[in-house]
């Protein structure tokens, strides 16, 4: 369905209006919705997958899923929570498709003796990349999306204790690696 509003009007419309129009099949409103949410979805995907090309590809898959099921969304207010669920599901499906093990404290193969690699630029971004996917997902949901632990547990299907443990251990690992880098680099 062609848009009922002009591009300028859509650009100034409130989020709830854009979502409601997109739910009703308005193509212009859906384009505006993609424009407004793309940065958030792409940042999330990049942080969890650590690959810019794959991150953008997964972000596009998220928007395709949104387009396919937007008509079934009942409440406009629920859109962002629903989008977050699609983002996490898309990432977990990608992990399953690639048969990447999701558990464990750290991606041992990649991490190696992290503290010894002081010649390399070892910043927080790289350190995050060495966490196991499940741990990284919990850290990203907590720090990037600002979600509480019970919300993360509900969204990921992981037990609450596991989520807490992933975040605590992940943060501890990051602290340890960054301290080792600071110590070794100086």
């Amino acid at each position: 369905m062609q848009s009922r509003l002009s591009a300028a009007a859509l650009g100034q419309a409130a989020d709830s209006m854009i979502i409601a129009l997109a739910c009703a099949g308005d193509e212009g409103a859906f384009t505006e919705l993609v424009r407004r949410r793309q940065a958030r979805v792409r940042k999330f995907m990049y942080h969890v997958c650590r690959d810019r090309g794959l991150g953008d590809d997964l972000a596009q898959q998220v928007f395709i899923s949104v387009w396919q099921s937007l008509g079934r969304l009942r409440a406009v207010d629920a859109f962002d929570g629903w989008l977050k669920r699609i983002m996490v599901t898309t990432w977990l499906e990608e992990l399953r498709r690639r048969r990447i093990p999701t558990t464990g404290e750290v991606d041992a193969e990649q991490a190696g003796a992290y503290g010894e690699r002081t010649a390399e630029k070892l910043d927080l971004d790289a350190a995050l990349g060495h966490l196991a996917p499940d741990v990284r997902l919990c850290i990203v949901l907590s720090y990037n999306e600002g979600m509480a632990h019970p919300e993360i547990a509900t969204l990921t299907g992981l037990p609450l204790g596991t989520v807490k443990s992933h975040i605590a251990r992940g943060a501890a690992k990051l602290r340890e690696w960054l301290a080792a880098y600071d110590g070794g680099g100086r």
């Binding site: 993609v34 793309q38 395709i64 927080l124």
Partner: protein
């Protein structure tokens, strides 16, 4: 939030807040809409193919469907009579009561959940 506040918390929040996607927003939106257009065309084709296949299948099996409906209309009265008579026997009544009990139990379980 349940995390203890320290330097790493601040560092992580700043890190996530400052991250920028590499591809310009407009290019990304265009690529996404192109992919959606492809997905839409594919869905339309699949729907049309499915409809055509269903129609072809209906045409193919129509002789059997006609024969079956004739058989059904000829024998329905007899089958219903025999079925009703069997349900009135002790075994039939027990089966009906058992099925009703199972259905009620299922409904109660669904309500409890």
């Amino acid at each position: 939030m349940n995390q203890p506040a320290d330097d790493l918390d601040t560092l992580l929040r700043e890190h996530f807040a400052n991250a920028r996607p590499p591809l310009a927003a407009q290019r990304f939106v265009e690529q996404t809409l192109e992919r959606i257009a492809v997905a839409r065309r594919r869905a339309t084709w699949i729907r049309r193919l499915t409809q055509a296949a269903a129609l072809a299948a209906l045409i193919l099996v129509s002789p059997w469907l006609i024969r079956g409906s004739t058989l059904l209309s000829e024998n329905l009265d007899v089958w219903l009579t025999v079925g009703t008579q069997w349900l009135l026997t002790p075994a039939g009544t027990a089966l009906v009561v058992g099925c009703a009990g199972l259905a009620a139990l299922g409904a109660m379980v669904r309500r409890w959940r």
